[in-house]
């Protein structure tokens, strides 16, 4: 029979601090994961400033701004959910987790609408890319980064939403230990990080060249 797993920590508080520390390190690995894409973006922005402005003007700034507002609100809802769970207001926390989840869904729907229209405009990188105007190749470079950055972000968002759904359902079913405050806090940290990534993606992708310069 396998020996029982050693519990390396002496008390629950120490374990909680270790989990939080571990998650922060993980978030930093995520930051470094986005790093090359951000540097690739920077290279293109400096090298092909004009084409990047043209391409960015072609994104849907209304939907992009709406999406940013949705995510910022979802972060607020998540923070409230964590606070509620910590003070044992479990019903309120479950409701707020659900709101956060729904805001994430709304983001994905809007993103999907954007992708759909971009697909129809032949802006997806690959053999089918077509752009009328000069600097088409540099515009294509921008759009590769646009899709890469937003897709990787969306994948991370979906992972976060899955976590939220799992915890919300668990708490609704009364599994208070599974949905312990510590775990909701950790999920919150992850969610806020995904939000921060979008906070930077929004101006980088949607707001270039809007002043017509």
């Amino acid at each position: 029979m396998n020996a029982a797993a050693a519990e390396p920590f002496d008390d629950v508080r120490q374990r909680a601090r270790a989990d939080t520390f571990g998650l922060w390190i993980f978030l930093m690995t995520e930051l470094m994961f986005f790093g090359p894409l951000l540097f690739g973006y920077w290279f293109g922005r400096v090298e092909y400033a004009h084409a990047f402005a043209v391409a960015s003007r072609h994104t849907d700034v209304t939907l992009g701004t709406l999406n940013t507002a949705l995510l910022l609100s979802s972060s607020a809802a998540m923070a409230a959910a964590v606070a509620a769970r910590v003070r044992r207001a479990t019903r309120v926390a479950t409701g707020l987790l659900l709101i956060t989840f729904l805001l994430g869904c709304a983001f994905l729907v809007v993103k999907g609408l954007e992708y759909r229209s971009e697909w129809h405009e032949h802006l997806f990188p690959g053999a089918g890319f077509a752009f009328a105007g000069e600097d088409a190749a540099a515009v294509r470079y921008f759009y590769f980064l646009y899709f890469a950055l937003t897709a990787v972000h969306a994948l991370h968002l979906i992972v976060g939403m899955t976590l939220l759904a799992v915890f919300a359902i668990a708490l609704w079913r009364g599994a208070d230990e599974f949905g312990a405050p510590r775990r909701i806090e950790l999920a919150g940290l992850y969610w806020h990080f995904v939000d921060i990534v979008w906070i930077f993606l929004y101006p980088l992708l949607y707001l270039l060249g809007r002043s017509g310069a």
């Binding site: 601090r17 910022l72 607020a76 923070a79 906070i199 930077f200 002043s211």
Partner: protein, 103 residues
């Protein structure tokens, strides 16, 4: 309890206001300063999320993580950037890529 909720609502309002500001400012004809303003506002929003929602102020370990990671990330920009800043790039004529047989 109530104080906590107030902080969250205040932070949320600030974030939405900053969003409106960054969006509106993008239309101002201030040239290269558009980028500076937008990224600055983004950094501010990120700081609010980090400080108020993620409690970054409360944990020195977390702050150390973020500091070290940002420093290392900046190294890519600074050192690889030094290459691009001091190199003359001569773009080739645009051509479609060749086809290939295997993934």
């Amino acid at each position: 309890m109530h104080r906590n909720t107030r902080r969250i609502v205040l932070a949320w309002s600030a974030l939405l206001l900053l969003l409106a500001a960054t969006c509106a400012s993008a239309w101002l004809p201030i040239g290269v300063w558009n980028g500076v303003v937008n990224l600055g506002i983004a950094a501010l929003k990120a700081a609010i999320v980090a400080a108020v929602f993620m409690h970054l102020g409360a944990s020195s370990a977390a702050r150390a993580c973020v500091g070290v990671a940002l420093f290392v990330l900046l190294l890519i920009f600074a050192l690889a950037g030094s290459d691009y800043a001091t190199r003359d790039l001569h773009p080739a004529a645009w051509q479609p890529p060749p086809t290939r047989t295997m993934p």
